[in-house]
Subunit: 344 residues, 2 copies
DNA sequence: CTTGTGACTGTTAGCGCTAACTATACCCTG
DNA sequence: CAGGGTATAGTTAGCGCTAACAGTCACAAG
């Protein structure tokens, strides 16, 4: 009967293994591997050689517990399936790159309950900071953010009161600006097409602002159409067809995002509708995709990359002045008229 | 002179705080919060109440160190910016949902060096498993995967030898199949448009297979065009224009992905080219976006969601039989002829 | 020769939690 | 009522690492 080896040869390695292999104390190994404190070149060599040849991978769990330091930043966003959050992520990653900090992403699918549980889960890993989309959270989530004791940056939106810092644009104002531009271009019978998502607060705020802009000119929305799920491009076609069938005299369509806007644009072109003569179109976001369309859709850049960069800078403590917490950075989206709004 | 409080009131809470607040031992609190072991209802109530009112968030770092268990699954993928990996992610998340396991994503940007460092970083958190795109890794990365002592699933591709398990399709075969379908439809002057990415091994294998398929019919590629970076849709337009200017007698264009294919399709339609009569088109991936296009691009579904599901099942130990490690699951993409290949 | 100083390395004591065991009650069975 | 379950709670000993401190040694200055 073969006896099992006393020590499992495939047991995961620890500092002690490296320490024994290189003939120095665990502490010295730790110092070498973290590049901290003074270690002689010869010792360093020995240790690095031993670590490499054993294939040692440090255990950050133990390290984090002992040092009370975690190089993780929790990033909590609603979705990855349109291009807006991936771009925010790029800004975050690029900025965090040389800080030793690492983003960890959680997705909420626009559900407050999921946001709460994702946040709880992430906080239980004691990250160095939290970047979270939006200013609206469940009471419990809000309480967790308040008492986390780490930097919190709420991103995308600044129409509200942040827990700590915030970086974003005013969606309300963005909606209003678009309304003003549309009215200035002479359009009067305006329809809105958007998502049926009660928890997409930013889309709601844009619509609120848009309505407000119309109201100031004595106008109201002539028709509305909402969708949920499915291919946004396809939905854009379908909704556009539907709203134009129902209300043929519309002279402008405002889409809550560029993807359905692009679908609408393709539909209109295929139908031979005169854009922007008889019908103007506009979306929101400024996604790169639009560059490839036959005609450029009017839109508004949401400053996604910049938002990511600034948020990461706050977490990394890179912001210039000595501001501690409570910083609010407002960015200003630019209207890109493209080819789907009449020139005034 | 005010004396600092002995205990920082905003010091993060520990089990001990909850234990003191509820008058039971730390162990009992731990049991309640993890729902493990027998605890009387009255004690459970007391503990839960205390934990909630204090706003206690468990420290998973300490928990993981003590229990040698981490509920994290490392997912390492090259990119999030086209829709292919987000869809794989959905499959993974949905499957992991009810297992207590949580995916953590790392992005490599198709760089072997970044893959290596992301992998190292993730392994240092001692995840329960690794899902990683592709079969090609640096020697160091390969060694880490080999000796990690946890389930490894290499996804997307099965043309090669996996470290442990693999789930994916044969890109080589996919390319060959497409070539066969194109030839069967009578096209002969075939051009290829793709990315200039030496480390996108799957795109390379598809092209290899495609060339092989052509060769069997005595054909070779009539022209090729490559791009790097930028809006894929726009690049698709530009490249299509370029290749058709250079080689006007092409009768088919095979794109390495649907996004540039869509750009090409829009260009051809705008130019009034007879598709699929004089010119046939095909892409690869089966992205949902295409549903919204005026005409459906021929493509091949890469089984993205299924790949995510199966990979997660392997990690979660959900696979039906008692297979341990070394499992290879091959999926078979279906050709979707759409409207851009002549019917035979 | 003593003392100090800087460069290097080792020792000790946890970080906050959980596995594994031990200690009580309390109840049943025969 | 002994013997032995069973449900519940507590105790002990780490998990693998690092902060903080404590040497040790060589060499220069006094």
């Amino acid at each position: 009967m073969t006896k099992a080896p006393v020590v499992d040869p495939r047991r995961t390695l620890t500092l002690r293994d490296v320490s024994e292999a290189s003939g120095v104390s665990e502490m010295t190994v730790s110092r070498v591997l973290r590049n901290r404190g003074d270690v002689s070149d010869s010792t360093r060599e020995k240790v690095l050689h031993a670590a490499r040849s054993l294939g040692y991978v440090p255990n950050k769990i133990a390290g984090a517990l002992a040092s009370q330091r975690v190089n993780l930043v929790a990033v909590i966003i609603p979705s990855m399936s349109n291009m807006v959050f991936p771009e925010v992520m790029m800004g975050i990653s690029d900025t965090l790159e040389d800080t030793g900090l690492q983003p960890v992403v959680g997705i909420t699918n626009y559900s407050p309950e999921r946001e709460e549980s994702v946040l709880y889960e992430m906080l239980s890993w004691r990250p160095s900071g939290v970047i979270i989309a939006g200013l609206e959270h469940s009471p419990a989530a809000h309480a967790m953010l308040e008492s986390a004791g780490i930097p919190i940056v709420e991103i995308m939106d600044i129409d509200g009161t942040p827990v700590d810092s915030a970086v974003g644009i005013s969606h309300r104002r963005a909606g209003r600006q678009m309304a003003e531009a549309i009215i200035a271009a002479g359009y009067r019978r305006i329809g809105f097409l958007g998502t049926k998502m009660p928890d997409d607060h930013r889309a709601r705020k844009r619509l609120d602002g848009f309505r407000e802009g119309l109201a100031r000119a004595g106008l109201t929305l002539a028709d509305e159409e909402y969708y949920r799920g499915g291919s946004a491009l396809l939905k854009g076609r379908e909704m556009t067809e539907a709203i134009l069938k129902r209300t043929p005299d519309l002279d402008f369509l405002y889409y809550s995002n560029d993807m359905i806007g692009a679908g609408g644009l393709l539909y209109c072109l295929a139908q031979g509708i005169d854009v922007p003569g008889t019908l103007g179109l506009a979306g929101f976001n400024g996604v790169e995709l639009l560059d490839g369309l036959p005609r450029k859709l009017a839109t508004m850049d949401a400053c996604r990359r910049e938002i990511g960069i600034h948020a990461a800078e706050i977490i990394a403590g890179k912001r210039p002045t000595g501001v501690i917490g409570g910083e609010v950075i407002e960015l200003f989206p630019k209207l890109q008229p493209g080819d789907t709004i009449r020139k005034v």
